[in-house]
Symmetry: C2
DNA sequence: CGCACCATTGATATGGATCAATAACTGTGG
DNA sequence: CCACAGTTATTGATCCATATCAATGGTGCG
Protein backbone atom coordinates (compact mmCIF):
# COMPACT_ATOMS: atom_id res chain seq x y z
CA UNK A 1 0.00 0.00 0.00
CA UNK A 2 2.51 2.58 1.10
CA UNK A 3 4.65 4.01 -1.64
CA UNK A 4 8.22 2.73 -1.66
CA UNK A 5 10.06 6.06 -1.36
CA UNK A 6 7.54 7.19 1.22
CA UNK A 7 8.25 4.06 3.27
CA UNK A 8 11.95 4.85 3.10
CA UNK A 9 11.17 8.32 4.39
CA UNK A 10 9.12 6.88 7.24
CA UNK A 11 11.88 4.49 8.20
CA UNK A 12 14.35 7.33 8.21
CA UNK A 13 11.98 9.45 10.29
CA UNK A 14 11.55 6.73 12.89
CA UNK A 15 15.27 6.06 13.01
CA UNK A 16 16.04 9.71 13.67
CA UNK A 17 13.22 9.87 16.17
CA UNK A 18 14.85 7.14 18.21
CA UNK A 19 18.19 8.91 18.04
CA UNK A 20 16.49 12.07 19.19
CA UNK A 21 14.81 10.42 22.12
CA UNK A 22 18.16 9.03 23.16
CA UNK A 23 19.86 12.41 22.96
CA UNK A 24 16.89 14.45 24.16
CA UNK A 25 17.39 16.78 21.24
CA UNK A 26 14.11 18.23 20.07
CA UNK A 27 14.16 18.58 16.32
CA UNK A 28 11.82 21.40 15.40
CA UNK A 29 12.27 20.80 11.70
CA UNK A 30 9.92 17.83 11.59
CA UNK A 31 7.35 19.22 13.95
CA UNK A 32 4.53 17.80 11.86
CA UNK A 33 5.40 14.33 13.16
CA UNK A 34 6.29 15.41 16.69
CA UNK A 35 5.38 12.83 19.35
CA UNK A 36 3.34 10.76 16.94
CA UNK A 37 3.32 7.02 17.45
CA UNK A 38 4.82 4.84 14.78
CA UNK A 39 1.40 3.51 13.81
CA UNK A 40 0.01 7.03 13.58
CA UNK A 41 2.77 8.04 11.21
CA UNK A 42 2.17 4.95 9.13
CA UNK A 43 -1.54 5.67 8.93
CA UNK A 44 -1.00 9.32 8.08
CA UNK A 45 1.43 8.56 5.29
CA UNK A 46 -0.12 5.38 4.01
CA UNK A 47 -1.37 6.96 0.82
CA UNK A 48 1.14 9.75 0.47
CA UNK A 49 3.36 10.10 -2.54
CA UNK A 50 6.79 11.49 -3.21
CA UNK A 51 7.22 13.97 -6.03
CA UNK A 52 10.15 15.73 -7.61
CA UNK A 53 9.65 18.97 -9.41
CA UNK A 54 11.78 21.46 -11.27
CA UNK A 55 12.34 25.03 -10.16
CA UNK A 56 9.65 27.34 -11.45
CA UNK A 57 6.88 24.79 -11.32
CA UNK A 58 3.54 26.07 -10.06
CA UNK A 59 2.40 23.46 -7.59
CA UNK A 60 -0.80 25.15 -6.47
CA UNK A 61 -2.71 27.99 -8.11
CA UNK A 62 -4.95 30.53 -6.49
CA UNK A 63 -8.46 29.19 -6.89
CA UNK A 64 -7.49 25.53 -6.96
CA UNK A 65 -9.14 23.24 -4.49
CA UNK A 66 -6.23 22.15 -2.32
CA UNK A 67 -5.55 18.44 -2.69
CA UNK A 68 -2.49 17.81 -0.55
CA UNK A 69 -0.46 18.94 2.39
CA UNK A 70 3.15 19.28 1.22
CA UNK A 71 6.24 18.49 3.24
CA UNK A 72 9.50 19.70 1.70
CA UNK A 73 12.09 16.96 1.68
CA UNK A 74 14.57 19.00 -0.31
CA UNK A 75 14.50 22.29 -2.17
CA UNK A 76 12.73 25.62 -1.82
CA UNK A 77 9.18 26.86 -2.21
CA UNK A 78 7.45 30.21 -2.04
CA UNK A 79 3.82 30.88 -1.31
CA UNK A 80 2.57 34.00 -2.98
CA UNK A 81 -0.51 35.93 -4.05
CA UNK A 82 -0.66 37.44 -7.52
CA UNK A 83 -2.58 40.58 -8.29
CA UNK A 84 -4.58 41.08 -11.47
CA UNK A 85 -1.79 43.12 -13.03
CA UNK A 86 0.95 40.66 -12.23
CA UNK A 87 2.41 42.16 -9.09
CA UNK A 88 2.98 39.69 -6.33
CA UNK A 89 2.99 39.52 -2.55
CA UNK A 90 5.15 36.80 -1.07
CA UNK A 91 3.64 35.27 2.04
CA UNK A 92 6.30 32.72 2.94
CA UNK A 93 9.70 31.50 1.76
CA UNK A 94 10.35 27.88 2.68
CA UNK A 95 13.10 25.34 2.83
CA UNK A 96 13.32 21.62 3.54
CA UNK A 97 11.62 20.38 6.68
CA UNK A 98 8.80 22.90 6.36
CA UNK A 99 5.24 22.29 5.25
CA UNK A 100 2.85 24.26 3.11
CA UNK A 101 -0.85 24.04 2.29
CA UNK A 102 -1.12 22.87 5.88
CA UNK A 103 -3.42 25.73 6.78
CA UNK A 104 -5.15 26.01 3.42
CA UNK A 105 -6.69 22.55 3.55
CA UNK A 106 -8.63 23.58 6.64
CA UNK A 107 -9.90 26.85 5.23
CA UNK A 108 -12.63 25.26 3.20
CA UNK A 109 -13.04 26.29 -0.41
CA UNK A 110 -10.41 27.38 -2.86
CA UNK A 111 -6.78 28.14 -2.13
CA UNK A 112 -6.07 31.83 -1.57
CA UNK A 113 -2.40 31.35 -2.46
CA UNK A 114 -0.09 29.99 -5.10
CA UNK A 115 2.77 27.68 -4.26
CA UNK A 116 5.76 27.85 -6.57
CA UNK A 117 8.97 25.84 -6.54
CA UNK A 118 11.90 28.25 -6.56
CA UNK A 119 14.42 25.50 -7.11
CA UNK A 120 14.43 21.81 -7.93
CA UNK A 121 12.63 20.18 -5.04
CA UNK A 122 11.32 16.90 -3.75
CA UNK A 123 8.11 16.88 -1.86
CA UNK A 124 6.12 14.52 0.27
CA UNK A 125 2.45 14.94 -0.59
CA UNK A 126 -0.17 13.87 1.94
CA UNK A 127 -3.73 13.89 0.61
CA UNK A 128 -5.81 16.63 2.19
CA UNK A 129 -8.63 14.26 3.03
CA UNK A 130 -6.22 11.97 4.86
CA UNK A 131 -4.95 14.90 6.91
CA UNK A 132 -8.43 16.04 7.82
CA UNK A 133 -9.41 12.53 8.81
CA UNK A 134 -6.26 12.02 10.81
CA UNK A 135 -6.88 15.16 12.84
CA UNK A 136 -10.04 13.57 14.16
CA UNK A 137 -8.21 10.39 15.03
CA UNK A 138 -4.98 11.57 16.60
CA UNK A 139 -5.29 14.53 18.93
CA UNK A 140 -1.53 14.90 19.13
CA UNK A 141 -1.46 15.41 15.39
CA UNK A 142 -4.16 18.04 15.69
CA UNK A 143 -2.04 19.75 18.29
CA UNK A 144 1.02 19.68 16.07
CA UNK A 145 -0.95 21.27 13.26
CA UNK A 146 -2.27 23.94 15.61
CA UNK A 147 1.27 24.77 16.68
CA UNK A 148 2.51 24.92 13.11
CA UNK A 149 -0.33 27.01 11.72
CA UNK A 150 -0.25 29.24 14.73
CA UNK A 151 3.42 29.93 14.06
CA UNK A 152 2.61 30.87 10.48
CA UNK A 153 -0.02 33.22 11.77
CA UNK A 154 2.41 34.82 14.16
CA UNK A 155 4.85 35.37 11.32
CA UNK A 156 2.06 36.88 9.26
CA UNK A 157 1.27 39.29 12.08
CA UNK A 158 4.88 40.33 12.28
CA UNK A 159 4.93 40.78 8.54
CA UNK A 160 1.88 43.04 8.70
CA UNK A 161 3.34 44.99 11.57
CA UNK A 162 6.63 45.40 9.75
CA UNK A 163 5.10 46.64 6.54
CA UNK A 164 2.77 49.09 8.26
CA UNK A 165 5.00 50.59 10.91
CA UNK A 166 8.62 49.82 10.09
CA UNK A 167 10.98 51.35 7.57
CA UNK A 168 12.63 49.15 4.93
CA UNK A 169 15.82 49.40 6.94
CA UNK A 170 14.15 48.08 10.08
CA UNK A 171 12.45 45.32 8.16
CA UNK A 172 15.75 44.18 6.75
CA UNK A 173 17.36 44.29 10.17
CA UNK A 174 14.56 42.29 11.67
CA UNK A 175 14.79 39.73 8.90
CA UNK A 176 18.54 39.39 9.39
CA UNK A 177 18.07 39.04 13.12
CA UNK A 178 15.59 36.23 12.66
CA UNK A 179 17.89 34.48 10.20
CA UNK A 180 20.78 34.95 12.58
CA UNK A 181 18.91 33.37 15.48
CA UNK A 182 17.64 30.59 13.24
CA UNK A 183 20.95 29.76 11.61
CA UNK A 184 22.74 29.53 14.92
CA UNK A 185 23.65 32.67 16.72
CA UNK A 186 27.20 31.61 17.56
CA UNK A 187 28.39 32.32 14.04
CA UNK A 188 28.78 35.92 12.96
CA UNK A 189 27.86 34.94 9.43
CA UNK A 190 24.37 34.93 8.01
CA UNK A 191 23.55 33.37 4.69
CA UNK A 192 20.81 34.77 2.51
CA UNK A 193 19.23 31.50 1.51
CA UNK A 194 16.82 33.00 -1.01
CA UNK A 195 17.15 35.26 -4.01
CA UNK A 196 17.37 38.86 -2.96
CA UNK A 197 14.44 39.84 -5.12
CA UNK A 198 12.31 37.31 -3.30
CA UNK A 199 13.38 38.44 0.13
CA UNK A 200 12.71 41.99 -1.00
CA UNK A 201 9.18 41.17 -2.02
CA UNK A 202 8.59 39.22 1.16
CA UNK A 203 9.65 42.31 3.10
CA UNK A 204 7.34 44.48 1.07
CA UNK A 205 9.87 46.47 -0.93
CA UNK A 206 11.33 46.50 -4.42
CA UNK A 207 14.66 44.81 -5.22
CA UNK A 208 16.15 48.26 -5.81
CA UNK A 209 15.24 49.43 -2.35
CA UNK A 210 16.47 46.19 -0.87
CA UNK A 211 19.81 46.68 -2.55
CA UNK A 212 20.13 50.25 -1.34
CA UNK A 213 19.19 49.31 2.19
CA UNK A 214 21.80 46.55 2.18
CA UNK A 215 24.29 49.25 1.35
CA UNK A 216 23.21 51.59 4.08
CA UNK A 217 23.27 48.89 6.73
CA UNK A 218 27.01 48.41 6.21
CA UNK A 219 27.62 51.55 8.20
CA UNK A 220 26.13 49.82 11.22
CA UNK A 221 28.77 47.11 11.21
CA UNK A 222 26.95 44.59 9.06
CA UNK A 223 29.14 43.70 6.12
CA UNK A 224 27.65 42.38 2.95
CA UNK A 225 29.37 40.23 0.35
CA UNK A 226 26.99 38.78 -2.17
CA UNK A 227 24.69 36.47 -0.27
CA UNK A 228 26.92 36.34 2.77
CA UNK A 229 26.41 38.77 5.64
CA UNK A 230 29.01 39.19 8.37
CA UNK A 231 28.29 40.87 11.67
CA UNK A 232 30.93 42.97 13.38
CA UNK A 233 29.75 41.65 16.72
CA UNK A 234 26.83 39.78 18.20
CA UNK A 235 24.99 42.93 19.22
CA UNK A 236 24.74 44.95 16.03
CA UNK A 237 21.32 43.47 15.31
CA UNK A 238 19.94 44.19 18.76
CA UNK A 239 18.56 47.51 17.52
CA UNK A 240 16.05 45.54 15.48
CA UNK A 241 14.89 43.26 18.26
CA UNK A 242 11.33 43.26 19.45
CA UNK A 243 9.75 41.74 22.57
CA UNK A 244 8.53 38.67 20.66
CA UNK A 245 11.96 37.90 19.41
CA UNK A 246 13.92 38.90 22.49
CA UNK A 247 13.06 35.86 24.53
CA UNK A 248 14.35 33.51 21.82
CA UNK A 249 17.67 35.35 21.80
CA UNK A 250 20.47 33.64 23.71
CA UNK A 251 21.83 37.05 24.61
CA UNK A 252 18.51 38.26 25.94
CA UNK A 253 19.12 40.56 28.87
CA UNK A 254 22.85 40.34 28.48
CA UNK A 255 24.57 43.42 29.82
CA UNK A 256 26.20 43.99 26.48
CA UNK A 257 22.90 44.17 24.61
CA UNK A 258 22.52 47.85 23.83
CA UNK A 259 18.80 47.92 23.39
CA UNK A 260 17.11 44.76 24.69
CA UNK A 261 17.08 46.09 28.20
CA UNK A 262 16.13 49.65 27.46
CA UNK A 263 13.63 48.87 24.77
CA UNK A 264 11.68 46.33 26.69
CA UNK A 265 10.96 48.81 29.39
CA UNK A 266 9.11 50.79 26.78
CA UNK A 267 6.60 47.98 26.53
CA UNK A 268 6.18 47.77 30.32
CA UNK B 1 -18.44 24.47 39.89
CA UNK B 2 -19.49 26.33 36.79
CA UNK B 3 -19.91 30.05 37.17
CA UNK B 4 -23.53 31.18 37.27
CA UNK B 5 -23.47 33.62 34.31
CA UNK B 6 -21.40 31.12 32.36
CA UNK B 7 -24.02 28.45 32.97
CA UNK B 8 -26.68 30.83 31.68
CA UNK B 9 -24.60 31.32 28.57
CA UNK B 10 -24.26 27.56 28.14
CA UNK B 11 -28.00 27.07 28.50
CA UNK B 12 -28.64 29.75 25.94
CA UNK B 13 -26.07 28.20 23.61
CA UNK B 14 -27.69 24.79 23.83
CA UNK B 15 -31.15 26.22 23.35
CA UNK B 16 -30.11 28.02 20.19
CA UNK B 17 -28.25 24.96 19.05
CA UNK B 18 -31.46 22.94 19.17
CA UNK B 19 -33.31 25.64 17.28
CA UNK B 20 -30.57 25.63 14.70
CA UNK B 21 -30.67 21.90 14.25
CA UNK B 22 -34.39 22.14 13.76
CA UNK B 23 -34.09 24.85 11.14
CA UNK B 24 -30.85 23.57 9.57
CA UNK B 25 -29.41 27.03 9.80
CA UNK B 26 -25.68 26.96 10.36
CA UNK B 27 -24.69 29.78 12.64
CA UNK B 28 -21.12 30.73 11.84
CA UNK B 29 -20.94 33.20 14.68
CA UNK B 30 -20.48 30.58 17.35
CA UNK B 31 -18.18 28.34 15.38
CA UNK B 32 -16.06 27.65 18.43
CA UNK B 33 -18.82 25.40 19.77
CA UNK B 34 -19.85 23.95 16.41
CA UNK B 35 -21.00 20.31 16.61
CA UNK B 36 -19.77 19.90 20.16
CA UNK B 37 -21.74 17.61 22.43
CA UNK B 38 -23.47 19.09 25.43
CA UNK B 39 -21.05 17.38 27.78
CA UNK B 40 -18.08 18.66 25.81
CA UNK B 41 -19.33 22.22 26.08
CA UNK B 42 -19.89 21.76 29.79
CA UNK B 43 -16.39 20.43 30.28
CA UNK B 44 -14.81 23.17 28.17
CA UNK B 45 -16.58 25.94 30.05
CA UNK B 46 -16.59 24.40 33.51
CA UNK B 47 -14.01 26.82 34.84
CA UNK B 48 -14.63 29.75 32.56
CA UNK B 49 -15.58 33.14 33.85
CA UNK B 50 -17.59 36.05 32.55
CA UNK B 51 -16.06 39.50 32.64
CA UNK B 52 -17.27 42.97 31.82
CA UNK B 53 -14.81 45.64 30.91
CA UNK B 54 -14.91 49.28 29.94
CA UNK B 55 -13.87 50.63 26.56
CA UNK B 56 -10.16 51.37 26.45
CA UNK B 57 -9.15 48.58 28.78
CA UNK B 58 -6.01 46.69 27.79
CA UNK B 59 -6.95 43.05 28.18
CA UNK B 60 -3.71 41.54 26.99
CA UNK B 61 -0.32 43.18 26.55
CA UNK B 62 2.46 42.23 24.20
CA UNK B 63 4.81 40.07 26.21
CA UNK B 64 2.19 38.72 28.58
CA UNK B 65 1.84 34.99 28.89
CA UNK B 66 -1.64 34.37 27.50
CA UNK B 67 -3.95 33.04 30.18
CA UNK B 68 -7.32 32.78 28.48
CA UNK B 69 -9.14 32.35 25.24
CA UNK B 70 -11.72 35.15 24.95
CA UNK B 71 -15.16 34.89 23.42
CA UNK B 72 -16.92 38.21 22.88
CA UNK B 73 -20.45 38.13 24.22
CA UNK B 74 -21.02 41.80 23.57
CA UNK B 75 -18.88 44.75 22.56
CA UNK B 76 -15.83 45.33 20.40
CA UNK B 77 -12.16 44.45 20.62
CA UNK B 78 -9.07 45.18 18.57
CA UNK B 79 -5.88 43.20 18.44
CA UNK B 80 -2.91 45.35 17.68
CA UNK B 81 0.88 45.55 17.77
CA UNK B 82 2.57 48.67 19.10
CA UNK B 83 5.94 49.84 17.88
CA UNK B 84 8.58 51.31 20.14
CA UNK B 85 7.64 54.86 19.13
CA UNK B 86 3.94 54.39 19.68
CA UNK B 87 2.74 53.72 16.17
CA UNK B 88 0.40 50.80 15.89
CA UNK B 89 -0.58 48.10 13.46
CA UNK B 90 -4.09 46.75 13.84
CA UNK B 91 -4.31 43.05 13.14
CA UNK B 92 -8.02 42.44 13.68
CA UNK B 93 -11.18 44.34 14.57
CA UNK B 94 -13.75 42.16 16.31
CA UNK B 95 -17.37 42.13 17.36
CA UNK B 96 -19.55 39.85 19.43
CA UNK B 97 -19.48 36.19 18.54
CA UNK B 98 -15.81 36.27 17.65
CA UNK B 99 -12.88 34.93 19.63
CA UNK B 100 -9.40 36.23 20.28
CA UNK B 101 -6.24 34.84 21.83
CA UNK B 102 -7.44 31.61 20.28
CA UNK B 103 -4.30 31.30 18.20
CA UNK B 104 -1.94 32.90 20.67
CA UNK B 105 -2.41 30.27 23.36
CA UNK B 106 -0.99 27.68 20.97
CA UNK B 107 2.02 29.71 19.95
CA UNK B 108 3.99 28.94 23.06
CA UNK B 109 5.68 31.77 24.88
CA UNK B 110 4.57 35.36 25.19
CA UNK B 111 1.78 37.06 23.34
CA UNK B 112 2.90 38.92 20.22
CA UNK B 113 -0.19 41.12 20.31
CA UNK B 114 -2.19 43.41 22.53
CA UNK B 115 -5.93 43.09 22.91
CA UNK B 116 -7.81 46.29 23.67
CA UNK B 117 -11.49 46.85 24.32
CA UNK B 118 -12.72 49.58 21.98
CA UNK B 119 -16.08 49.81 23.71
CA UNK B 120 -17.72 48.47 26.84
CA UNK B 121 -17.72 44.72 26.42
CA UNK B 122 -18.57 41.48 28.12
CA UNK B 123 -16.33 38.54 27.58
CA UNK B 124 -16.34 34.85 28.24
CA UNK B 125 -12.88 33.81 29.35
CA UNK B 126 -11.81 30.19 28.99
CA UNK B 127 -8.52 29.34 30.70
CA UNK B 128 -5.76 28.60 28.19
CA UNK B 129 -4.81 25.39 29.92
CA UNK B 130 -8.38 24.15 29.72
CA UNK B 131 -8.46 24.85 26.01
CA UNK B 132 -5.19 23.07 25.38
CA UNK B 133 -6.36 20.09 27.38
CA UNK B 134 -9.72 20.00 25.66
CA UNK B 135 -8.09 19.90 22.25
CA UNK B 136 -6.55 16.58 23.16
CA UNK B 137 -9.89 15.26 24.38
CA UNK B 138 -12.35 16.39 21.76
CA UNK B 139 -11.16 16.12 18.19
CA UNK B 140 -14.14 18.06 16.94
CA UNK B 141 -13.10 20.97 19.10
CA UNK B 142 -9.58 20.76 17.67
CA UNK B 143 -11.11 20.88 14.23
CA UNK B 144 -13.17 23.93 15.08
CA UNK B 145 -10.08 25.71 16.32
CA UNK B 146 -8.20 24.77 13.18
CA UNK B 147 -10.97 26.24 11.05
CA UNK B 148 -11.11 29.44 13.11
CA UNK B 149 -7.37 30.04 13.23
CA UNK B 150 -7.02 29.12 9.64
CA UNK B 151 -9.57 31.79 8.75
CA UNK B 152 -7.61 34.37 10.70
CA UNK B 153 -4.54 33.34 8.80
CA UNK B 154 -6.32 33.73 5.51
CA UNK B 155 -7.42 37.21 6.49
CA UNK B 156 -3.87 38.02 7.47
CA UNK B 157 -2.65 36.90 4.06
CA UNK B 158 -5.20 39.10 2.37
CA UNK B 159 -4.15 41.97 4.58
CA UNK B 160 -0.50 41.49 3.62
CA UNK B 161 -1.41 41.22 -0.03
CA UNK B 162 -3.53 44.34 0.16
CA UNK B 163 -0.90 46.47 1.81
CA UNK B 164 1.88 45.35 -0.51
CA UNK B 165 0.15 45.38 -3.87
CA UNK B 166 -3.05 47.38 -3.62
CA UNK B 167 -3.69 51.12 -3.51
CA UNK B 168 -5.57 52.65 -0.57
CA UNK B 169 -8.58 52.96 -2.84
CA UNK B 170 -8.55 49.28 -3.66
CA UNK B 171 -8.06 48.35 -0.03
CA UNK B 172 -11.07 50.40 0.97
CA UNK B 173 -13.15 48.88 -1.81
CA UNK B 174 -12.16 45.41 -0.78
CA UNK B 175 -12.98 46.15 2.83
CA UNK B 176 -16.39 47.50 1.89
CA UNK B 177 -17.05 44.48 -0.29
CA UNK B 178 -16.27 42.13 2.55
CA UNK B 179 -18.48 44.08 4.90
CA UNK B 180 -21.23 44.13 2.31
CA UNK B 181 -21.13 40.36 1.88
CA UNK B 182 -20.93 39.86 5.63
CA UNK B 183 -23.74 42.20 6.55
CA UNK B 184 -26.11 40.69 4.06
CA UNK B 185 -25.71 41.50 0.42
CA UNK B 186 -29.39 42.17 -0.22
CA UNK B 187 -29.22 45.55 1.42
CA UNK B 188 -27.50 48.36 -0.46
CA UNK B 189 -26.40 49.86 2.83
CA UNK B 190 -23.17 49.10 4.60
CA UNK B 191 -22.47 50.21 8.12
CA UNK B 192 -18.99 51.08 9.26
CA UNK B 193 -19.07 49.31 12.58
CA UNK B 194 -15.72 50.64 13.80
CA UNK B 195 -14.18 54.04 14.17
CA UNK B 196 -12.80 55.27 10.90
CA UNK B 197 -9.36 55.80 12.33
CA UNK B 198 -9.29 52.16 13.37
CA UNK B 199 -10.40 50.89 10.00
CA UNK B 200 -7.82 53.15 8.43
CA UNK B 201 -5.04 51.67 10.51
CA UNK B 202 -6.26 48.17 9.85
CA UNK B 203 -6.06 48.91 6.14
CA UNK B 204 -2.57 50.29 6.51
CA UNK B 205 -3.22 53.98 5.90
CA UNK B 206 -3.61 57.16 7.91
CA UNK B 207 -7.03 58.52 8.89
CA UNK B 208 -6.42 61.43 6.53
CA UNK B 209 -5.87 59.16 3.57
CA UNK B 210 -8.89 57.10 4.56
CA UNK B 211 -11.02 60.19 4.58
CA UNK B 212 -9.80 61.35 1.19
CA UNK B 213 -10.32 57.93 -0.33
CA UNK B 214 -13.86 57.83 1.02
CA UNK B 215 -14.39 61.03 -0.89
CA UNK B 216 -12.97 59.79 -4.14
CA UNK B 217 -14.98 56.58 -4.03
CA UNK B 218 -18.22 58.58 -4.20
CA UNK B 219 -17.62 59.11 -7.87
CA UNK B 220 -17.95 55.37 -8.37
CA UNK B 221 -21.50 55.33 -7.07
CA UNK B 222 -20.72 54.63 -3.44
CA UNK B 223 -22.32 57.32 -1.33
CA UNK B 224 -21.00 58.11 2.10
CA UNK B 225 -22.90 59.68 4.95
CA UNK B 226 -21.03 59.54 8.24
CA UNK B 227 -20.73 55.86 9.08
CA UNK B 228 -23.36 54.78 6.59
CA UNK B 229 -22.39 53.75 3.08
CA UNK B 230 -24.98 53.36 0.35
CA UNK B 231 -24.30 51.55 -2.91
CA UNK B 232 -25.85 52.78 -6.14
CA UNK B 233 -26.32 49.20 -7.21
CA UNK B 234 -25.17 45.73 -6.25
CA UNK B 235 -22.32 45.73 -8.73
CA UNK B 236 -20.34 48.85 -7.91
CA UNK B 237 -18.06 46.87 -5.62
CA UNK B 238 -17.36 44.13 -8.15
CA UNK B 239 -14.27 46.00 -9.30
CA UNK B 240 -12.66 45.17 -6.00
CA UNK B 241 -13.48 41.48 -6.00
CA UNK B 242 -10.79 38.86 -6.01
CA UNK B 243 -10.96 35.14 -6.71
CA UNK B 244 -11.02 34.26 -3.00
CA UNK B 245 -13.98 36.45 -2.39
CA UNK B 246 -15.84 35.79 -5.61
CA UNK B 247 -17.12 32.37 -4.68
CA UNK B 248 -18.73 33.71 -1.51
CA UNK B 249 -20.59 36.32 -3.53
CA UNK B 250 -24.22 35.54 -4.27
CA UNK B 251 -23.84 37.36 -7.58
CA UNK B 252 -20.79 35.38 -8.57
CA UNK B 253 -20.83 34.83 -12.31
CA UNK B 254 -23.97 36.87 -12.72
CA UNK B 255 -24.16 38.39 -16.18
CA UNK B 256 -24.45 41.84 -14.67
CA UNK B 257 -21.20 41.56 -12.77
CA UNK B 258 -18.84 43.78 -14.74
CA UNK B 259 -15.61 42.25 -13.63
CA UNK B 260 -16.07 38.89 -11.95
CA UNK B 261 -16.23 37.11 -15.25
CA UNK B 262 -13.46 38.97 -17.01
CA UNK B 263 -11.14 39.12 -14.06
CA UNK B 264 -11.28 35.50 -13.19
CA UNK B 265 -10.07 34.56 -16.61
CA UNK B 266 -6.89 36.41 -15.80
CA UNK B 267 -6.13 33.81 -13.19
CA UNK B 268 -6.71 30.98 -15.71
C1' DC C 1 -21.82 76.36 26.99
C1' DG C 2 -17.34 74.67 26.47
C1' DC C 3 -14.15 70.92 26.34
C1' DA C 4 -12.58 66.59 24.12
C1' DC C 5 -12.39 63.83 20.51
C1' DC C 6 -12.78 62.54 15.85
C1' DA C 7 -13.16 63.50 11.05
C1' DT C 8 -12.25 66.41 7.32
C1' DT C 9 -9.69 69.47 4.37
C1' DG C 10 -5.63 71.89 2.67
C1' DA C 11 -0.53 72.60 1.95
C1' DT C 12 3.87 70.56 1.93
C1' DA C 13 7.59 67.23 2.04
C1' DT C 14 9.66 62.95 1.37
C1' DG C 15 10.52 58.10 1.00
C1' DG C 16 10.29 54.66 -1.83
C1' DA C 17 8.58 53.27 -6.52
C1' DT C 18 9.57 53.60 -11.09
C1' DC C 19 12.28 54.03 -15.12
C1' DA C 20 16.64 53.31 -17.24
C1' DA C 21 21.30 51.84 -17.74
C1' DT C 22 25.09 49.15 -16.27
C1' DA C 23 27.42 45.49 -14.02
C1' DA C 24 28.05 40.93 -12.16
C1' DC C 25 27.10 36.36 -12.41
C1' DT C 26 25.37 31.64 -14.31
C1' DG C 27 25.26 28.38 -17.24
C1' DT C 28 25.68 26.68 -22.09
C1' DG C 29 27.64 25.34 -26.21
C1' DG C 30 31.17 25.82 -29.58
C1' DC D 1 38.48 27.40 -22.14
C1' DC D 2 36.23 31.21 -23.68
C1' DA D 3 32.31 33.76 -25.79
C1' DC D 4 27.59 34.74 -25.41
C1' DA D 5 22.91 34.96 -23.77
C1' DG D 6 19.95 35.23 -20.01
C1' DT D 7 19.22 36.30 -15.47
C1' DT D 8 19.84 38.91 -11.21
C1' DA D 9 21.79 42.67 -8.69
C1' DT D 10 23.36 47.29 -8.44
C1' DT D 11 23.40 52.19 -9.18
C1' DG D 12 21.59 56.67 -10.67
C1' DA D 13 17.83 60.06 -11.89
C1' DT D 14 13.19 61.24 -11.54
C1' DC D 15 8.47 61.35 -9.99
C1' DC D 16 4.49 60.65 -7.47
C1' DA D 17 1.54 58.88 -3.80
C1' DT D 18 0.90 59.08 0.65
C1' DA D 19 2.59 60.63 5.15
C1' DT D 20 3.06 64.54 7.72
C1' DC D 21 1.96 68.92 9.48
C1' DA D 22 -1.50 72.30 10.44
C1' DA D 23 -6.00 74.27 10.78
C1' DT D 24 -10.92 73.82 10.80
C1' DG D 25 -15.32 71.82 11.49
C1' DG D 26 -18.52 68.78 13.53
C1' DT D 27 -20.37 65.92 17.39
C1' DG D 28 -21.25 64.22 21.84
C1' DC D 29 -20.87 64.78 26.71
C1' DG D 30 -20.43 66.72 31.19
Amino acid sequence: MTDKPVQLFIDDLLRRKKLREASKNSDEATYLFHSLSESSIQALLSNSIMQNCAGGKHLVQQGDTPTHLFFIIKGGIKTVRYGADGDEATIRLLHSGETFMDAVIFMGGKSPINAVAIEDSSLLMIPAETVRRHVLQDAQFACNLLKIITRHYKNAMQQIDGIITKTPMERLGYYLLKQHLEQGSDSMDIALTFQKSMIANHLGMTPETFSRVLNRIKKMGIYVDQEKITLRDAYVLCHFCDPDTAHTCPRFNADECPLCNDNLKGYH
